[in-house]
Amino acid sequence: MSDVALEPTRRAQRGRRDRSANFYAYLVVSITLALFFVLPLVWEAARSFQPANLAAATPRGADFTHFTLGNYRAVFSQEHILTNVLNSLVVAVGTALLTTIVATLAGYGLAKFRFRGSGLAFAAILLALMIPFQAVLTPLFIELNDMHLTNSLVGLILVYTTFNLPFGVFVMRNTFQQIPQELFESAEVDGAGVMTTLVRVLRPLIVPGLATTAIFAFLYSWNEFLQALTFLETDSKLTLPVKLFDIDTSTYGAINYGYLSSGIVIAMVPCIVLYLALQRYYVQGLMSGAVKG
């Protein structure tokens, strides 16, 4: 409050001093918080490189002299968990691709074409945005079972794609709406068909939307647990999270924590890498405000 009373020069000086003291306080608080948020993740990476016997014991500083790749070697030599990692990769990449393609077509159609029922189609997509998959888990299971799509990665990709579509269509529709109408018209005058326009003319302009849609779909399907747990049965079909659950709850003797922790790190890495690479598009997607919890 007394700021107002101070002379301009003294105010400026005080401001500068405040800023540097302030700055160090900011730095200390931020670094402490960063440790709070990141240390548990880093610790898990460190644990995964410890020998299995040490990984199950109370942490001690001395343990970190015994780095080993043993856990990872075990993970990759045991066929099953490698299969599960690949399953997760197939499902996540498949979902990201399919979601991006289907959402792009629908976003294009809704943004730039006028047709009967377009309002209804958009309403249906909006409605789907508000329905959590947990609410339709049982009927979805019965339906997929009848279609022979349970215990199937294709079935899982179709379901994951569907629950990512409302958000994706939203993002792509906004993306197409921001492209000036003249571009479409001049492409049409030049004789370009709908698909040619999309692939040749619009592609560079819709890349941000594509990246946003793809990264959300990938992260969703890579991390998804409840649907995979419900729809998949046999060990060779499980995705990584469900496999980790099986390892964690296995009743055959002691749990191998080294093994489990390396599986956890394998589950973490693609998320972090993808987020760091495509952070801008991820944040844009968040800001569009159409994300479900």
Partner: protein, 321 residues
């Protein structure tokens, strides 16, 4: 244009008897044919998305309503029983407990997530040196996902083996071999702390997005008037941030209401820590009371709809960004 001509039927033009009609057709048809063709293309473009949403969201939703009115078993005949499932729900102590527990859990985590997220957003608001890096680091737990992190803490919460014991006993907050996920209260507290750690980065990012839209001049003007920090937050930031605040609270409350992974993984053997979605899963897929579980799942849609509406209405103000 060539494709339009190909499709356009020239027969009337060449027909000797119908010259007037032919002329009219020639002038009007191309544009209307093109419009019709464009309309058809638009419909075709939306079809795959619509087909998937009808097949795997809207049809199951209708199917769920139907199932919930029957005594649908896993195999065998079933018949219509009206609202019997819904009546039973409200007399089922296990179900009522899961509702109470989920509401309690949501009440516990929502405000800490919000205030921590708000604090983080304020801390990094000025975009000083390192702000971007810190923002990324604070958000990492959300990126990695609660499922993976629940497995992580399944290891780290082991008494005598995980770092949680070790760290907490060194900080004087617990004895050296604490059972973190055995008693009801301690498990709930532990899981709540993990969820706050996981989710506050998301609130931070959503609020940061909102804060960046607030004109700097407003704060500068307030500085000139000698407004205190608290006053600036209450009079400028919060009113202009209403939409972002509403969004972050809705996402957080819905997420807590649908909680499953963290309790299923970290509190498997503790029936007193059963969330609604866990109850639905167990009822439908462990006890095979498919219809009964489904009726609860449908109530979930209604509850979540009401929560979203209520929060939007409560936080909707005259000032919208």
């Amino acid at each position: 244009m060539s494709r339009v001509n190909e499709r356009f039927d020239l027969a009337p033009v060449l027909h000797p008897g119908g010259q007037v009609d032919a002329e009219r057709t020639l002038h009007r048809a191309p544009s209307s044919a093109r419009r019709r063709r464009k309309a058809r293309t638009g419909g075709l473009l939306v079809t795959p998305a619509l087909a998937l949403i009808v097949a795997f969201v809207l049809f199951p939703l209708g199917f769920a309503i139907y199932i919930s009115l029957t005594n649908w078993p896993l195999i065998g005949p079933y018949h219509y029983i009206g609202l019997e499932n819904y009546r039973e729900l409200f007399h089922d102590p296990e179900f009522l407990h899961s509702v109470r527990f989920t509401v309690t859990y949501t009440a516990i985590v929502t405000l800490p997530i919000f205030f921590l997220g708000y604090g983080l957003a304020v801390l990094l608001r000025a975009n000083r040196f390192g702000s971007k890096v810190f923002r990324t680091l604070f958000f990492l737990p959300f990126v990695v996902g609660l499922t993976t992190e629940s497995f992580m803490f399944a290891i780290e919460l082991q008494p005598g083996a995980g770092w949680v014991d070790w760290a907490m006993s060194h900080l004087g907050l617990a004895s050296a071999t604490q059972a973190w996920t055995v008693t009801h209260d301690r498990t709930l507290l532990t899981i709540s702390v993990i969820v706050i750690w996981f989710a506050s980065g998301l609130t931070m990012l959503i609020l940061t997005g909102g804060m960046q839209g607030i004109p700097r001049e407003l704060y500068e003007a307030a500085d000139v008037d000698g407004a205190s920090w608290l006053k600036k937050e209450l009079r400028i930031t919060i009113p202009l941030l209403r939409r972002s605040i509403a969004l972050s609270l809705i996402i957080s409350v819905i997420g807590s209401f649908l909680a499953f992974n963290q309790f299923f993984i970290l509190a498997q053997n503790n029936a007193s820590l059963e969330t609604v979605v866990e109850w639905v899963y167990q009822t439908a897929f462990t006890s095979y009371h498919l219809a009964y579980g489904t009726s609860m799942a449908l109530l979930l849609v209604i509850v979540i709809g009401i929560v979203s509406m209520a929060q939007f209405l409560a936080l909707r103000g005259e000032t919208e960004l």
